[in-house]
Symmetry: C3
Subunit: 172 residues, 3 copies
């Protein structure tokens, strides 16, 4: 019943399909607590940020979480693994329709990026099976292809919901 | 980070992909308050209706909102722009799987329509970041192609949730 | 406005598209109370189970509902049709991104199966239009092709939400 592989690495699909699969892997890896696989969906020189929409709209993008490289993401995961509080809740993402536009023209390094946007709703369930809505928001991402794989160059979570009770910053 | 373009107009994709993109643009344009772009997703001679499921099932399709042309939609948007109450909440749609069937045979004008169905959940977030479920329901649409673009000929929102506190009819 | 057909049987699409359509048909047929059509999405020798995630994680997969053949599913539907309590609520599924991997190698019968995973949120609405979240969880399925159609060989619903007030086991 479990799925041990990633669907975003297999061949024979269009770039759009590969991007849709990357977006799906992203949320399922978090939900299934496969954070070590999750970090492999990013390029080394990546950006990962969680912002609140209210701050984005006001022009003050206060960051709830910010990592400027894959190494920082790895450190963050190590911290989460050591923290007692993590895994108290079960996450469940429902990912809405994925909008893809691109690719853009090549940058100075010959890389072509795609812009990707998708809404999500994220639910958390306690150990006794009670579920509540935790966050809704939008992913606003840039995806590149490296070695035939779709990977996140930039992942930006713009959360509509501004929750004050987050004890520890976990990925959304 | 923002996305200024529409993904539904680009070429090189199948008709099914173009329809899926149209459905995605529809919800993102509402959520991003791009209502002037949103109205361009409809043909001139379009129909836009919001119904409650309870009335549909009972055979009395009381319409919560009804526009019989693109001009009426434009007027509605102008009214919303002038209304103080609009934009008090932030909308966020999560669009479920899109079912596409068709195309039908050509009509008398040589147009072939596709039937499209998709569920949605719509959340609203207040200025202080509190999110609540506003509506769930189903889009039951007819899509045509004009000048290579997928556009709504009929957009019908059948809302399961019957909310009494809507001060102003806004798109769902 | 209604859709009388199934989108999962039409030709000219890739296997991945057919699988995505099957997943979409599954939820829409439940929501639209088309349970007799719904059962036709399964092979005769199918497995259908609803589990709670808490039990899966603990290694005790207590089954909230379990059918080991299409005939058992048919019986279940007959029971639901005879039950007074059914249809008190309206279901609405929002299906998240569908992850497809496969196909696997042929089994001894020459059948090749695909692994499919997708999250869902399921809402229920009462007769007076009030909507509440009923369940979130993950489908972990195996799909095969028979006569050119995608069908469920195994459908396993792993529900995060553990609701105690289910009077009658209905499909999720």
């Amino acid at each position: 019943m479990s799925d041990s592989g990633s669907s975003s690495g297999s061949g024979g699909r269009s770039e759009r399909e590969a991007i849709a699969d990357l977006m799906a892997d992203y949320v399922h890896f978090i939900d299934d607590d496969r954070l070590e696989d999750w970090v492999e969906l990013f390029v080394e020189d990546c950006s990962y940020r969680i912002l609140s929409r209210e701050n984005v709209d006001a022009g003050y993008p206060l960051e709830l979480m910010s990592c400027d490289s894959k190494d920082m993401l790895r450190d963050r995961i190590l911290s989460l693994r050591e923290a007692v509080l993590y895994n108290v809740h079960t996450d469940k993402h429902v990912l809405g329709a994925v909008r893809v536009s691109g690719p853009e023209d090549e940058d100075e390094d010959g890389v072509r990026a795609w812009s990707v946007q998708a809404n999500y709703s994220l639910y958390q369930t306690t150990a006794n099976g009670e579920t509540r809505l935790f966050s809704v928001g939008t992913y606003r991402d840039r995806v590149v292809f490296s070695g035939g794989r779709a990977l996140f160059a930039e992942k930006t979570v713009v959360a509509d919901t501004f929750t004050v009770d987050r004890l520890l910053s976990t990925p959304i």
